[in-house]
């Protein structure tokens, strides 16, 4: 829509659309999490939950924290982000603090992100601050509702959308966009992109090399029943795909966007008559010294590897190496229904234990 009003954050949250193939359009976001952050804060401000100069709290150290920090700075809210020492690097912490956020970095002796400790600390802050507001990106409906705007942008640019490809971390962007597109295109096929050792689609928890993709806890905003196919992309093919985006299209994105583009290009090639849309959530700047640095890449065991031309289809859900790309036909089932079909040994133990994260 042509809009004449000036709104910096609405513009900043708006993706640039790129045609990656004749039947494939990508939404390349500078900072995707602004879309849910702005919607959640707007809604809370208008219904009175978030008062002027209130204290906002969240347990993230990722791009959602960055988005809330920018909005909090511009709108005069205080912000405290509770993270774990294993999850945040000094540079990102310094960036958040420069914007005005208070970043509490808890010890993480087990190396699993110490989510219980972060939640406990967040509750302590809320208990002492009557005007505190918790954005709850993992389970706030505002997270997925915000992505109606992305569905609108796709429809205005593409018309009919047949396939949607997107990463899953909190579930907000893919599940939100998919559920709104399905209200008008019930035939929409949804391809979720995850990474090995993320528990979201039934893999056992483990160390993940790709940051910003997958999860070790299960947010409520992941709605498995919307998903037709799940793809697990390892770090190496994701890096190579990100490199291709830059070399072949001049688009500088992060490795999670690389993973999404990898799956999307395969979908578009496999289904040449389908209109395919893909969500690319992050830019490459944060990865300049790693994913886009040959010296760093050379330290990776087995780099460079052969780029997998297509995914390996699994019938039993299992993690694979960081050089691998696998897929599983999810067929719009619930997590429980899918896990029931898996052999007892393949059922991961970490599922379903975490609520309210």
């Amino acid at each position: 829509m042509v809009t004449l009003a000036i709104d910096y954050f609405r513009d900043l949250e708006t993706p640039r659309l790129a045609r990656l193939a004749p039947n494939l359009v990508a939404a390349a976001f500078p900072l995707m999490k602004l879309m849910p952050a702005r919607y959640i804060l707007d809604r809370a401000a208008s219904n009175g939950e978030l008062k002027a100069a209130s204290h906002i709290v969240e347990t993230t150290s990722g791009t959602f924290g960055m988005a809330v920090a920018l909005l909090a700075a511009a709108r005069g809210y205080r912000l405290t982000l509770v993270t774990a020492s294993t999850l945040i690097d000094a540079k990102y912490k310094a960036r958040l603090e420069r914007i005005g956020a208070t970043v509490i970095s808890l010890d993480d002796p087990r190396g699993d992100g110490n989510q219980p400790g972060r939640l406990e600390r967040l509750q302590e802050i809320l208990a002492t601050e009557p005007d505190g507001f918790w954005t709850r990106q993992y389970d706030s409906p505002g997270n997925w509702l915000a992505y109606a705007r992305l569905a609108e942008l796709f429809i205005r640019a593409l018309g009919k959308v047949d396939c949607l490809v997107g990463c899953i971390g909190t579930g907000g962007s893919l599940c939100g966009t998919a559920s709104f597109l399905r209200t008008v295109f019930p035939h929409l096929t949804v391809f979720a992109v995850d990474t090995h050792c993320s528990i979201l689609f039934g893999q056992p928890v483990g160390k993940r090399m790709l940051r910003g993709l997958g999860n070790s806890v299960l947010p409520k905003n992941v709605r498995h029943e919307l998903v037709d196919e799940i793809h697990w992309v390892g770090a190496y093919p994701a890096y190579m795909s990100a490199h291709r985006l830059l070399r072949e299209h001049g688009i500088f994105m992060g490795p999670t966007s690389g993973a999404a583009a990898l799956v999307a290009r395969w979908v578009a090639k496999t289904l040449p008559d389908a209109q395919v849309a893909v969500i690319m959530p992050d830019e490459g700047h944060r990865h300049a010294e790693t994913v886009y640095n040959d010296d760093w890449l050379a330290t990776l065991p087995g780099w460079p590897c052969k780029e997998p031309p297509e995914p390996r289809t699994l019938t039993t859900i299992a993690p694979a190496a960081e050089t691998q790309w696998t897929r599983f036909l999810w067929l719009r089932r619930s997590l429980d229904d899918v896990l029931k079909t898996q052999t007892a040994s393949a059922v991961p133990s970490a599922i379903g234990a975490v609520e309210n994260l």
Binding site: R43, G142, E152, F180
Partner: protein
């Protein structure tokens, strides 16, 4: 508009007679709550015009202060004539005569058509050409809530209680064939007695998606996308003003390969939308009309929309 009256004063004006017409509609393609540029919410709708039914007004100016209306129960039209005279800074009154082929109370917009025809007749009597946006604003002032018929077949997202355009889609609706009929036994609905629908957050967000679909449908003249928007809006309307037999009609539409199902969101009208240029349309429309009648619905009619004389 100040000055228009001065320029046109004199005997010629006193004796002038103006005529105006306005077409009916078949309810709305979409209706809900929409965000403006600043993020504020407005109730809005996209009207589905049907040119086959219309209201015609004649206004004869007189020195008398009163506006006399025929038939005398059409008080909103009389109010609209008075508002138009005031807007054009003209004293005096006149005799307003209305003749309409539009049935009352089903969502055909009989009242707005009378009001818009009257505004146009008064303006014509004063030899003034009003912009659609002005006519729309005057219509809302005259009848509290108004459809977008002041814009004729031009597609706009219209704030029906404010008289303003939320989004101008920049063109006409694509050519359609509408198979229309009445739900709920054809009992009329008194629109002003209906409480405004309260939409939840998911519905409000979905309306943005439907609006995008209408924009794309107008831009590419695509009846299929328009039909999908209408169907989704009809489904939301079902949660607020349910129509009996909705599921059955949706099934008939699906089997018939219709572009979508459309409803009057504050009336009893139901419609199946077809691409006017689809093959075998005459046979398919006749078949679908028969199925609708068999399902117990009344007064099945066929309305070409933006047909430009096409012999479908």
């Amino acid at each position: 508009m100040a000055g228009a009256g001065d320029l046109m004063s004199g005997e010629t004006l006193r004796s002038s007679i103006g005529t105006g017409a306005a077409i009916a509609h078949h309810g709305e393609l979409i209706q809900g709550v929409f965000k403006d540029d600043g993020g504020r919410l407005h109730r809005g709708l996209v009207t589905l015009p049907i040119a086959g039914l219309r209201s015609e007004a004649t206004f004869a100016r007189s020195d008398d202060d009163a506006v006399i209306i025929h038939p005398d129960h059409k008080i909103k039209a009389s109010a609209a004539a008075r508002l138009t005279l005031d807007f054009l800074n003209v004293t005096g009154g006149g005799v307003l005569t209305l003749q309409s082929s539009i049935p009352v109370g089903h969502g055909y917009g009989s009242s707005t058509a009378d009001v818009v025809a009257s505004i146009r007749a008064v303006a014509a009597a004063l030899k003034v050409q009003l912009r659609p946006s002005t006519i729309g604003r005057l219509a809302v002032a005259a009848e509290r809530a108004s459809d977008a018929i002041a814009f004729d077949e031009h597609a706009v997202l219209f704030a029906q209680r404010e008289g303003t355009v939320i989004e101008n889609f920049g063109g006409s609706l694509p050519p359609l064939l509408l198979v229309g009929f009445k739900a709920n036994g054809g009992v009329p609905v008194d629109t002003l007695q209906l409480p405004p629908a309260r939409y939840d957050s998911a519905e409000i967000q979905e309306f943005g998606v439907l609006r995008a679909l209408v924009a794309r449908a107008v831009y590419l003249q695509d009846p299929n996308l328009l039909g999908r928007a209408a169907s989704a809006s009809a489904l939301i309307s079902q949660r607020h003003l349910p129509k009996q037999g909705f599921d059955e009609i949706a099934e008939i539409a699906r089997r018939a390969g219709a572009c979508g199902v459309q409803v009057a969101h504050s009336g009893s009208l139901f419609g199946l939308i077809f691409d006017l240029f689809a093959s075998n349309l005459k046979r398919r429309a006749a078949l679908v009309a028969q199925q609708i009648r068999r399902a117990g619905f009344k007064e099945v009619e066929v309305h070409p929309v933006n047909a430009e004389g096409w012999a479908w």
